[in-house]
Every structure is written in C-alpha cells, then in structure tokens.
C-alpha cells in the first residue's frame, strides 16, 4: 500500500544527516510505514522548532507530506513521545542505542511496515533508558530482529541432517542457517563452536519477553560467545559489519 500524500505516524529517528544549506535528512523507523527517509527544511538553524524533536533515538509523533509523488516526504510537525533522557546521559547507553538503530537501518526495508520490529526497538530503548543490563538487552534485540526479519536461525534441529539436537557441544553456521550436530559440522563449512549454555540462552531469548531475558544470568564467557554468534549472523545476513560494534566493544 502506498503512503498518502499527507499522513501522521509515530516513529523513531534512526539516522540524520545534514542536507543542503540548513536542512536535515532524517531516516525514521515508523510504526505504520516501516523505514522511510524525510527532509526537514531549515532544521539546522537555531530558530528551528523541529530539530530538538528530531534528534536521533527520539520516538516522535510526526506529520509528513509530499509535494509530488516520488519525492521525499517533508516533516511538517514533530512532537517527542519519548526522548529516553537517561540513555543519552551515559556513553554506554547512547552507544547501545546507536547500535540498535544501525541494526534496524540494516534490516528494515523502505516502504515495508514491520510493527513487531518497531515495538521491539522502542521496548529495548526504553529498557536501556531504565537501566536494564546492556548486554542482555542487545543480545535479546539481535535475536528478535532476526526473528522479525525472517532470518531466525534453526536451534532445535541440525540444519544438515534434520535430526533433533542432543544435549552437548554443537556447531553453528550462519551460512547453513543455524545449528549443526558435531558430525555434520565436519563437512568443510565455516562454523563457530557453540556450547550447550549458548544454545539454551539463544532458545530462551527467542521465546521469552525482554523482562525475562534481562533476568537471565549470563557469565562473561557466555556473553562473549553469544556476542560472537549473533554478530556473525547479523554480518552474514547484512553482508557487512555493524560499524558501531567496534566502538561498543571498546567500551565493554
């Protein structure tokens, strides 16, 4: 369904870049219309009434219109719904938020609504703002993004022989689409080692709510393993690194 020429929606600002003399190009992830790009005229002038509302990570109530079909949407009104102020005041929180917006930017397709992913993004930003453990929130977010984008790895069966996985150490291949039993993993694919605890944690993150995921006990070694597995999966499907990960890891 194509967007009307004038419409109102709620969205999270996931990116912004200067445009022309004093304008701004914002990338929004909206509840009703998915990812879209819009222009904010005069936003970088000190007198602009919109720029404060359209800061990256803000959840905003927006009114947009388009002068001609095919042109970019223009933001005519914006009002903050949630600004996540505590998140911004802390370097780790702000970087975690930027990481999530980069992932959504990568997996969200323009003009393709994905309400589950929108609710996930807002929920995870809210959790980080409320002081939830960053690693738990980010790993849960990654797992759920894969699910809502149709790239959820197989965690119950071996993706090669389709046998039910037995308790113990396994192998994991983003390219093959999930977990491999030890025998099938020997067939020359590039694979990651996967401990039984990592398998359990990924299954739990897939099924649980964010609140439940945040209460899971994660040892530092298990956190590192989950980070490796999930970042490898995101990289495989996006065909590029998530750039903010480097800075995120530096802060860890």
């Amino acid at each position: 369904m194509s967007r009307p020429r004038s419409f109102r929606t709620e969205g999270v600002v996931i990116r912004s870049a200067p445009m022309m003399e004093a304008g701004l190009m914002v990338t929004l992830f909206t509840r009703e219309w998915g990812k879209l790009r819009a222009v904010v005229h005069g936003a970088r002038k000190p007198s602009s009434k919109l720029v404060g509302h359209l800061e990256v990570l803000n959840c905003v109530d927006l009114t947009l219109h388009r002068a001609h079909p095919g042109n970019l949407d223009i933001v005519s009104q914006a009002q903050i719904v949630e600004a996540f102020p505590a998140l911004r005041m802390e370097l780790e929180g702000a970087t975690g938020g930027m990481y999530m917006t980069e992932v959504v930017d990568g997996f969200g397709a323009e003009g393709s609504p994905n309400q589950e992913m929108y609710q996930l993004l807002v929920g995870c930003l809210r959790a980080l703002d409320g002081g939830a453990p960053r690693d738990h929130v980010l790993r849960y977010f990654e797992m759920q993004v894969l699910d809502h984008s149709g790239f959820m790895p197989e965690l119950q069966l071996c993706v090669e022989c389709r046998e039910v996985l037995q308790p113990g150490e396994h192998l994991y291949s983003p390219e093959a689409g999930g977990t491999l039993c030890p025998l099938c993993g020997m067939k020359g694919q590039q694979v990651y080692q996967m401990s039984v605890n990592a398998l359990k944690a990924l299954r739990y993150f897939r099924q649980s709510s964010l609140e439940q995921a945040c209460s899971l006990k994660l040892e530092p070694q298990l956190t590192r393993e989950l980070t490796t597995l999930l970042s490898g999966t995101l990289k495989y499907w996006l065909d590029r690194e998530i750039r903010s990960r480097t800075f995120l890891e530096r802060l860890a």
Partner: protein, 204 residues
Amino acid sequence: MTGWPVPSAAPSVARLIQELNKLPGIGSKSAQRLAYHIIKLPPEEAHMLAEAITVVKDQVIFCSRCQNLSDTDPCPICTDDRRDPTQVCVVEEPLDVLALERTHCYRGLYHVLHGVISPINGVGPEDLKLKELISRLDGASVQELIIATNPTLEGEATAMYIRRQVGQLPVKVTHLARGLPVGGDLEYADEVTLSRAFQGRQEL
C-alpha cells in the same frame, strides 16, 4: 533504431562539471550551472578562483597545537599573548572556531577535533584529534577544558568520551550550556531542551 546524436559538453567542460559534482551538496544540475557560470566569468576572475584553490591546498596546514587550519604553525590564535592559555575550548570543526570568535566573549585557546565520534558512520576516537588534545593537556598550564561539541547525540557522546579520557588529569571540564535559543518559543521547544534549560537556570 538510429537518431540524432545526443549533444554533450566539450571534454574540458565535461571534466569541470565532473569535478564540481564531487563537491558536497553539489548535484549534477548545480555542477552544470556552476561550470557554465565559470565559463562566462572574465578570465582574470576565473584565474583568481583557480589560484585560490591551488594556494589553499599548498599553504593551509594544521596548527600543531590546536589542530585548526592555518597558514602558519602555530596559528595566530595560539601565538596571541593576549589570550588566556589556561582555558581550552574543544570544538568539532574549524568553522565552529569562527562562530565562537564572532561572539567576542571567549579569550582562551581552542582545540579542533575535526569530527565527532560517530559509531554508525564508523568514526571512532582514533579518527579525531583526541590524542593531540590529551598530550596537550598533559603537563601544560591548562586549568579548564570547555567542551563545545554540538548538542546532538554524537556530540554528547564525544563530550562524555573526552570527559572520561581526561578524568585523571587535574583539569576542570565544563561544557557549553544547553537551553532555549534567543528568539525561541517555549511552546515549540522539545522536552530535552526544556529540561536542560531548567537545570541550567540562573539567578536574575
């Protein structure tokens, strides 16, 4: 199907259009307009433009102290005896120095980062002039570091990172006040700006 050949610009004009098209904010139409404007200029004006570009590339260097762009090293601001060497104001870009100088209310020195930490764009601390800032503060007479990065998410992240890096040094770290712009309207101000304006309120 054959038809009339598509008319194209002369190779030298096409090359000029191509080069102008590489400039930020200049699309192909603007590049064409600029190119034909340059062609119409009197020869001496066109040569002055070309010379200005050549000279700026040959002569402009980074000041080894503040990292600002300058014709001399150290730059005129760093060598000005009337300025207060105990204060250093950290800005994102050289243009920010000009904006602050226009206020005539700051008489300290500057440090230009040449960017801001932007994890989404792959810009990390190592891509900025941060090492130079730390080595400048270490053992120098600087008493106050004024962080004047933009009040954006990335500007704030850079400010927090600098605060963390210089935390061990005996330097007072401040940053510019956040709040309502002159001529602004409370009704249209966002919650973050208003709450920071409240936090930074002053006695009349």
